[in-house]
């Protein structure tokens, strides 16, 4: 057992930390989030230059050869800065599918663009009726000649507006919720038959509703085995959960520390409100929630780095449960202890709260992952 970081990991962490501190203050973040695109192309270029977009990919594919711990370190810092750039959808989801299940040709075709920052990606999986069940699909891909024809509707596709490359889950056989018969396709976002409705999310990301009408795909659009998409989704999404969970941990750290600072300086009834024992203990609870979430973050990352399987999946679900609970507690109480100020759009606190609340929903909330944890 070893809890220390390698030199490469420490360097990566320091580099992201510096960027957040110097170039991603709250005001800058708010400006970036208010851009039409919802993120800064310039920042994205910087990410590429600093090598962050290649972190999870094999060196043979032009990447950094990093593992889950590396992703975790990066995402934790992103969470401190409330980074809106679409790292998760592009690098960990679209890129993740290529890494886990892509053929040599597919990797060759797309990974360079992802790593150099020229290609944006997104994973279109959710459907209005499906809640958190990846297998609940009414979108279908029917064999048509040499390829497939996609029809269906995908909900809340994060980074849909910017994505060049979509990974789309669709049913190729079986009933609506069968675990078999789920297939994955790499789809050019500008393909004929795709139409989008774009909108922002509560936490200032950009998402789309996507309608698929007779979208024609060639045979090489299939990623992984036909009908065998579900285990791939589990593996790729668990990697993404580690990242958004680590973001949450970073956000919680900012929230509990900012709240402590605020309570030390803010005076009421003739003394800093931090003198009130009830508020002190609440902050202790926030601190403990943060520490517990951080502990499971390490656990999930290390289990994922041991190789994907039930142990790793279980650790990821445990982490997601903890993140959901801790995030809610820390977020709500940071707002509460900041009083009216915590409710304003102009202070950072409420924005962290919103992000934490949305992270709980993303890829399945507390209840969903408790059940998954119990079933593994």
């Amino acid at each position: 057992m070893d809890f220390s970081f390698s030199d490469e990991q420490s360097m990566l962490k320091d580099s992201v930390e510096r960027f957040i501190q110097n170039d991603y203050g709250f005001e800058q973040r708010q400006k970036v989030a208010a851009l039409d695109a919802g993120f800064s192309a310039e920042n994205w270029k910087t990410f590429a230059e600093l090598g962050w977009l290649g972190v999870p990919f094999a060196e043979a594919d032009g990447g950094f050869g990093g593992g889950a711990v590396d992703t975790m370190l990066l995402a934790e810092q992103f969470g401190k800065g409330l980074v809106v750039e679409p790292y998760v959808p592009t690098v960990l989801l679209a890129g993740g599918f290529l890494k886990v299940a892509g053929s040599a040709e597919q990797k060759h075709k797309y990974l360079t663009g992802i790593i150099d920052g020229s290609v944006q990606g997104a994973f279109a999986f959710a459907e209005p009726q499906g809640r958190f069940n990846f297998a609940d699909l009414t979108t279908t891909a029917e064999a048509a000649g040499d390829g497939y024809t996609l029809n269906g509707y995908k909900a809340v596709v994060i980074n849909g507006p910017a994505a060049d490359l979509l990974v789309i889950s669709a049913r190729t056989s079986g009933g609506q919720r069968d675990t078999e018969g789920v297939s994955l396709f790499l789809v050019d976002a500008s393909a004929e038959g795709i139409s989008r409705r774009d909108y922002p999310t509560v936490d200032a990301l950009r998402a789309s509703e996507i309608t698929l009408e007779n979208v024609k795909l060639t045979a090489d659009a299939l990623i992984g085995e036909l009908g065998g998409g579900l285990p791939i989704i589990d593996e790729v999404v668990d990697g993404a959960i580690l990242a958004i969970g680590a973001e949450a941990v970073g956000s919680m750290e900012v929230l509990y520390k900012d709240t402590v600072e605020y309570c030390k300086t803010r005076e009421q009834f003739g003394q800093p409100i931090g003198k009130f024992q009830v508020l002190q203990h609440r902050m202790v609870d926030m601190f403990m929630e943060y520490e517990q979430a951080k502990s499971l973050m390490y656990m999930a990352a290390m289990r994922l780095d041991e190789g994907y399987g039930d142990e790793a999946a279980k650790a990821v679900s445990a982490f997601k449960v903890q993140v959901g609970k801790s995030g809610r507690f820390v977020g709500q109480n940071a707002v509460q202890l900041h009083g009216g100020m915590g409710m304003t759009e102009e202070l950072n606190i409420g924005h962290y709260f919103k992000r934490l609340t949305m992270i709980d929903t993303m890829f399945g909330n507390v209840d969903h992952h408790l059940k998954r944890f119990g079933s593994l």
Binding site: A155, V202, V335, G340
Partner: protein, 398 residues
């Protein structure tokens, strides 16, 4: 001891229902209540409702009969609140009718009562509350807005914040400091009524999470207020304000509103396309827990009302209603987001990208706004931590 309605009460209930059907038809109903977005300018339907209320003499049921109240029993009030909330009738802004009016009929002069009460009763004038100040929060007594006597006017200088509805209000009732040399901070405060059209008043919006503009900051620069607009005695304003705060706490429980929202949530969970939530024992349990706590709180409120009938104003016990009422509202809002799944993410708000209309199921965006803005419920009007201090002191004797 019994919970049933007697014949007279049942007749009253029918009366109320008929009145609602006649003047607030089904269309365009939207849950009101204390935490909904406060009204800006009114719709035609709303104005019709208020006019009908005034014509029937039901616009201010809680007031003393002498001033236009209804003299209802607690049971009648309970019936009225339930029926109007279930039908999602518009709710008159609390600032004039429920918060200021009790001060005026208790401590205002006859002239003030004649001047200010009728427009409130007739829903013709909107009020806002000038209590909180920048940097003061729940600690009202630390206020610094100054009023200096100049002939038959006060000249007021200072700033108020978290002022709900200031941007649509005609008048503001306001706490100001008239004496800066007192021993206790609660002394030297006066209670002034200020015309929002007075020169020197500026209103700036404060955007809150999930809100579309209801809260403001207000600056007052050399605002001249006639001495005739002073309530009661100079320097005694704290006493009047304190009585008023108790009234604010009962209003804020919002039990009937929570019941309506819980009902809608249960319906939504039951109608869900694939039935996942309807069959989810864990989610159902959460709904049942909230429902039971609401039942308990409703009974607690009824018990409080029964006490009021015997003894007058609600005691510090009413803080329970504030604490539990806001907690439950927040929990229901959280459960609504849970029920929405991924459709709890979209926020096509005009504050961000421009509004193209809703995404996902009906009411999803409203649920989100309510969840976000609902966090204020445990902060504003005396945070829940302050409410617990009040109970510790007044009920437990610490």
């Amino acid at each position: 001891m019994n919970l049933g309605l007697d014949d007279a009460e049942r007749a009253f209930q029918i009366d109320v229902r008929e009145f609602i059907d006649a003047h607030w038809p089904e269309g365009a109903r939207e849950v009101g209540g204390a935490m909904a977005h406060p009204p800006g300018r009114r719709s035609v339907a709303e104005q019709h409702w208020y006019d009908a209320l005034c014509a029937r003499g039901w616009s201010v049921p809680n007031w003393p009969v002498a001033h236009g109240g209804t003299g209802w029993t607690p049971t009648q009030h309970y019936i009225w609140d339930r029926e109007t909330t279930r039908a999602e009738c518009p709710v008159m802004s609390a600032f004039g009718a429920r918060m200021l009016a009790p001060v005026i009929y208790a401590w205002g002069s006859t002239a003030q009562q004649a001047k200010f009460l009728p427009p409130i009763r007739e829903a013709r004038v909107q009020w806002c509350q000038g209590y909180s100040e920048p940097g003061a929060g729940s600690d009202l007594a630390s206020l610094r807005t100054r009023a200096v006597r100049d002939g038959d006017h006060y000249v007021v200088n200072g700033a108020k914040t978290w002022t709900t509805e200031a941007h649509v209000a005609d008048w503001m009732f306001c706490l100001v400091r008239t004496n800066t040399t007192t021993e206790r901070r609660q002394q030297g405060i006066s209670f002034l009524l200020i015309d929002m059209a007075s020169p020197g008043i500026e209103v700036h919006p404060i955007l809150l999470l999930g809100d579309q503009h209801s809260v403001n900051s207000v600056t007052l620069t050399d605002v001249r207020v006639p001495v005739a607009n002073l309530i009661g005695e100079e320097n005694h304003g704290w006493t009047y304000a304190k009585g008023l705060l108790t009234h604010e706490r009962t209003g804020i429980a919002g039990i009937a509103t929570s019941q309506v929202r819980l009902g809608k949530l249960k319906q939504m969970a039951a109608c869900e396309q694939d039935g996942a939530l309807a069959e989810d024992a864990v989610f159902q349990r959460k709904l049942q827990e909230v429902e039971i706590e609401l039942m308990a709180l409703e009974m607690t409120e009824l018990r409080t009302l029964a006490t009021v009938q015997e003894g007058g104003a609600p005691g510090p016990e009413s803080s329970i209603l504030k604490i539990k009422g806001t907690e439950l509202r927040q929990r229901i809002a959280d459960l609504q987001i849970e029920a929405l799944g991924y459709y709890g993410l979209p926020y096509p708000d005009d504050l961000l990208l421009g509004n193209e209309g809703p995404v996902g199921p009906d009411g999803a965006l409203d649920s989100l706004r309510r969840m976000l803005y609902g966090r204020a419920a445990s902060i504003l009007g005396g945070s829940n931590e302050i409410q617990k201090n009040i109970i510790a002191k007044a009920v437990l004797g610490f």
